[in-house]
Subunit: 186 residues, 2 copies
């Protein structure tokens, strides 16, 4: 019965998000996700460790994109500019998956346990960004302050992005948030 | 056997923190806390709903202090100055309970579940500060940006405060963090 399934990962993601929305995250089983996607449970587990990983599996590449963006910023860039560049790069990544990101965000907002997980993800991103600033020679507490500031700007931009159907592109909102933050901090 | 116990709440706090440190949070029972404090379990439950509340019961007054500080700031103060005043007031509150705050912080750092709870507390503070800024007439996204910025400055100041035995007073570190943040945002 097992056969090659084109983009089974993508179909599993879609099926999972649809079911999380219909039944709630807690009441959705891996069996139901696999069935909806038309694949076996075994195929599900080839792609994801558990159903939560459908929502959080992209976290590592998201964080890596931010850190790579910070590292790629020229040495003449200020710490805040480097962090803004990192988050803008990650924003472009999300912009390309807007439908998935919106559905994911709605499911997380409906589940306190997933919200906690999301907060931990953001705290881990702040720590990684702080580390990449220290590698650029930024001292303490500046590295941590700018990292936290970056996460704060990203959070606000992200909420604007998911709040309305006709929101501007996320990288643009992130740029604006960093700009507003600089103005407000003066 | 039940008799009036002077400051049973304070002794329960001390007993709980000591046991959390010795046995770990998970392996500490309410019975053991009450015994160490020399009171009955019934007395424990007159003060706390459960053992977690020993660590998080002060969260409401902490948040209220920040919000009251924001509200008390004169109308000529910028949003960031108002938020800095709120966090400095809360910093003074913690400074007066440094021993408790340090022990609490070490226990939370050792337990992922408690760390999640702490992150949620900070997210709730950011939301409350954002709301108090909107009441001051600050628009969006500025209110949320400044609120997040305030939490970020507080987090960094707090880690400095708990990192070394001879750290400067917390309100001073908070002031410095807000000042550094303003400089870094330029």
């Amino acid at each position: 019965m097992v056969r090659w399934e084109p983009d089974s990962r993508g179909r599993l993601e879609q099926a999972a998000l649809a079911l999380f929305g219909e039944l709630g995250f807690e009441d959705t089983t891996v069996a139901a996700i696999a069935e909806r996607a038309g694949v076996t449970e075994r195929t599900f587990f080839r792609h994801f460790a558990d159903k939560r990983e459908v929502l959080f599996g992209g976290g590592t590449s998201f964080q890596d994109t931010i850190v790579a963006g910070v590292q790629a910023a020229g040495p003449d860039r200020s710490p805040l500019e480097a962090v803004a560049a990192g988050f803008a790069a990650a924003g472009a990544l999300l912009e390309g998956r807007r439908e998935f990101a919106l559905a994911r965000s709605a499911i997380i907002a409906a589940n306190p346990g997933l919200q906690e997980r999301e907060l931990i993800k953001l705290a881990s991103i702040a720590a990684a960004v702080g580390e990449s600033l220290r590698e650029r020679g930024v001292g303490e507490p500046d590295a941590d302050l700018v990292a936290e500031l970056g996460v704060a700007a990203f959070r606000v931009a992200f909420s604007q992005w998911v709040a309305t159907a006709d929101a501007p592109p996320l990288p643009e909102l992130i740029d604006e948030a960093f700009g507003r933050m600089a103005a407000l901090a003066r």
